[in-house]
């Protein structure tokens, strides 16, 4: 047993980190001999080895010996200053609480508009839009492949007309909106900007976030349309457009959330997300954008999974890696580029269909990790989301969970309360090292697009995900209510999506197609097609097409003709 106190030398897989040689103090050695050993002899520990959810080995005790050469000024600094381990603002949640941003969307635009207005009336401080699968894949609601999917996983948006209904009576000048859309992000964003314009909101002042992170789609969520090259071009087009026109809007939210949901480890989530971030920076610079001109508008999005300290360490490491990369790799001079801002969502994949009320507890603990890790905004999942989109009842509890953390627990009273903990700092170091290891491997492959084409991150995630499933099957890892502590429970009342949504959408679309000027639509779609063949920034062309009420499907098709579509080689 005593052996596990010593860091053993072994061959490490990527993402694993060596505990290194450990030089325990005389006092600690004496403790080991006089206090620990007798205890272990009398009553052995519950397991031979303790690991995080991601299988990262955890020691019995962390002391000064686990932080060799560690210097608080250098390694964590102070809040609001490099390397930002302690947070990106000097006052953190004492100054301003995180934005409580609940992801919502279902049915047709009018259904989601109602939910948005309800959430705002309940004290939610930002909006976040979930789109249905046809919208995410760039198909109109009346497309053959949309059958059975309209309004199911989010709101159906096929044209500017739908977008006008979605934000009806919601003043875009005053509310920040996040939109979870990727392949067709430029089109949906153009619709949003058109609504803002109609409302008379100043583009220079509106703020919000477009997810627009295509790389993680190839890696994890698989909602891609075009091949990587033209997809990256569209992303950089939005960066360029945002720099000029919407300085407060984040044109991207570089997302680890979906990577984690696909089954990655915490280190993989961190490494692949940040390497994606570096890829976007490099493509932006290649376009001729100045690093400090566009990087301040890039934002991040991480998962908050169940292993509390692993998650806290992950967020702290993320900020440190980003700062280092911006300064050392790209010569950034602006602190605004150095500070990694992120949104967090609690882990959907941790929710259980069994005993669903337990999900409230899981979500609360995950949310607490995000808050203690210094998040800028947060979505807490609802207890019924292993079954369906949330009911209003469940969504309200999820929002209240954040309000309880913010106003009752006292964790916001001081900045980075976990900073300086031997364990948290050692784990932050190890996770950072593990992530750099992956980042350097991907560099050596020629960057993230090249790594994706080789299936590298996809394969690493599939391995980790299968390993975790095997651990669950063998009960080496426990999910309460699933592979242990099982009990019978009656089914929840879940949200049913009204079957009339698809009909309503189809009718609205045929009315739209009849009323708009088809010549104008054709002219603008042709202009877009032509521009796609060249090198122009496509945002103005997309914006023009949107304003003629060309549909999402028509606009995406115009680009499909030029760019082609992407098929992955499935890895199992």
């Amino acid at each position: 047993m005593g052996d596990s106190l010593r860091g053993d030398t072994q061959i490490l897989a990527p993402g694993e980190t060596s505990p290194g040689s450990r030089d325990a103090s005389e006092r600690e050695k004496a403790w080991e001999k006089n206090t620990l050993q007798p205890m272990l002899e009398k009553s052995p520990e519950r397991q031979r080895e303790f690991t995080t959810l991601s299988d990262h080995k955890i020691r019995r005790l962390y002391t000064q010996a686990d932080l060799p050469n560690w210097n608080a000024d250098r390694n964590i600094g102070l809040p609001g200053e490099p390397p930002y381990a302690r947070g990106i603002h000097a006052t953190m949640h004492r100054g301003r609480l995180w934005t409580m941003r609940q992801f919502a969307g279902f049915g047709a635009a009018e259904d989601t508009n109602q939910r948005f207005r309800y959430l705002l009336s309940q004290g939610q401080t930002g909006l976040s839009t979930a789109f249905d699968l046809p919208t995410l894949m760039g198909y109109d609601s009346d497309h053959a492949l949309s059958e059975g999917e309209v309004g199911k996983c989010g709101v159906a948006i096929s044209s500017l007309a739908d977008m006008e209904v979605l934000f009806d009576q919601i003043p875009l000048a005053n509310v920040t909106t996040s939109m979870t859309i990727n392949s067709p992000a430029a089109v949906i964003w153009a619709m949003y900007l058109a609504v803002a314009e109609k409302q008379g909101a100043d583009w220079k002042k509106i703020s919000g976030t477009l997810q627009n992170d295509i790389l993680k789609e190839y890696i994890a969520q698989k909602e891609y349309i075009y091949p990587p090259e033209p997809s990256m071009r569209l992303v950089i087009d939005t960066f360029e457009f945002a720099v000029k026109n919407t300085p407060k809007f984040n044109p991207i939210s570089i997302s680890g959330y979906h990577i984690r949901e696909a089954g990655s480890t915490a280190i993989q989530e961190l490494a692949f997300t940040l390497r994606d971030g570096l890829e976007y920076v490099e493509w932006g610079m290649r376009r001729g954008l100045d690093v400090d001109q566009f990087v301040p508008q890039l934002s991040f999005f991480f998962n908050a999974h169940s292993d509390f300290f692993e998650e806290v360490a992950k967020y702290r490491a993320a900020r440190r890696i980003w700062h280092k990369a911006m300064v050392e790799r790209y010569g950034s001079k602006s602190p605004r580029s150095w500070a990694l801002r992120f949104h967090t969502q609690t882990a959907g994949c941790s929710l259980t269909a069994q005993q669903p009320y337990n999900n409230v507890v899981r979500t609360a603990l995950q949310a607490l990790a995000a808050v203690l890790g210094g998040t800028q905004s947060l979505h807490t999942n609802s207890l019924d989301e292993a079954w369906a989109l949330p009911t209003e009842f469940a969504a309200t509890i999820a929002l209240r969970t954040q309000q309880i953390i913010a106003h009752e627990t006292g964790v916001t009273n001081t900045v980075d309360p976990l900073g300086g903990s031997y364990f948290v700092e050692a784990l932050t170091n190890e996770i950072e090292r593990g992530a750099w290891d992956y980042i350097e491997r991907i560099d050596a492959m020629g960057g993230m697009v090249a790594a994706i084409e080789r299936g590298y991150p996809q394969r690493e995630i599939a391995e980790a995900s299968y390993r975790y499933q095997c651990e669950l099957d063998k009960k080496e890892k426990i999910m309460v209510g699933v592979n242990d502590f099982v009990s019978e429970e009656k089914q929840l009342d879940i949200l049913q999506i009204d079957d009339t949504v698809a009909h309503r959408q189809a009718e609205r679309l045929s009315k739209l197609r009849a009323e708009r000027s088809i010549d104008e639509v054709e002219r603008r779609l042709n202009a877009l097609r032509k521009a796609a063949e060249g090198k122009d920034n496509l945002m103005p062309y997309i914006f023009d097409a949107v304003k003629s009420y060309a549909t999402l499907g028509e606009i995406c098709d115009a680009m499909r003709v030029v760019f082609g579509t992407y098929e992955e080689v499935a890895i199992t």
Partner: protein
């Protein structure tokens, strides 16, 4: 005497790209000695039925998380029937509300595996079914 391996087609119909479950099942069934063909993403019922015929599979496993099961499953069952594939066992894994289960079984789905099912349970189900 080497037994003929059970042939399984794992398919992801619909627009959803969340393939964690499909990939885990594909690998678990392969590790359990079955011959597994994974279709990849966004397969229409027509594509799945054709692949089932072409690959001459004993079992089709559908992974559906998007809520489109009530549309996709009956379509596939009808196509399989047209192709004379009534003896193929069709399983569904994913997020299926209890209220929908009876209708899916009536449409010919042999079993529905909900979130949290262990891979061994699925392996055992298939093995038992193939003996009969």
């Amino acid at each position: 005497m080497p037994e003929k391996k059970i042939r399984v087609l794992i398919a992801k119909p619909g627009l959803d790209g969340h393939d964690r479950g499909a990939k885990i099942i594909a690998r678990a069934l392969r590790d359990a000695g079955m011959e597994v063909i994974y279709t990849g993403l966004r397969q229409t019922p027509e594509m799945i039925a054709s692949a089932a015929v072409q690959e001459d599979v004993d079992v089709i496993g559908l992974s559906i998380l998007s809520g489109a099961h009530n549309t996709l499953c009956p379509q596939l069952m009808a196509l399989l029937h047209d192709k004379g594939m009534d003896d193929v066992t069709v399983l569904v894994g994913g997020i299926i509300p209890e209220a929908d289960i009876a209708a899916l079984k009536k449409a010919g789905i042999a079993e529905i595996f909900l979130p949290g099912t262990s891979t061994q349970d699925i392996v055992e189900f298939i093995n038992k079914r193939m003996i009969h």
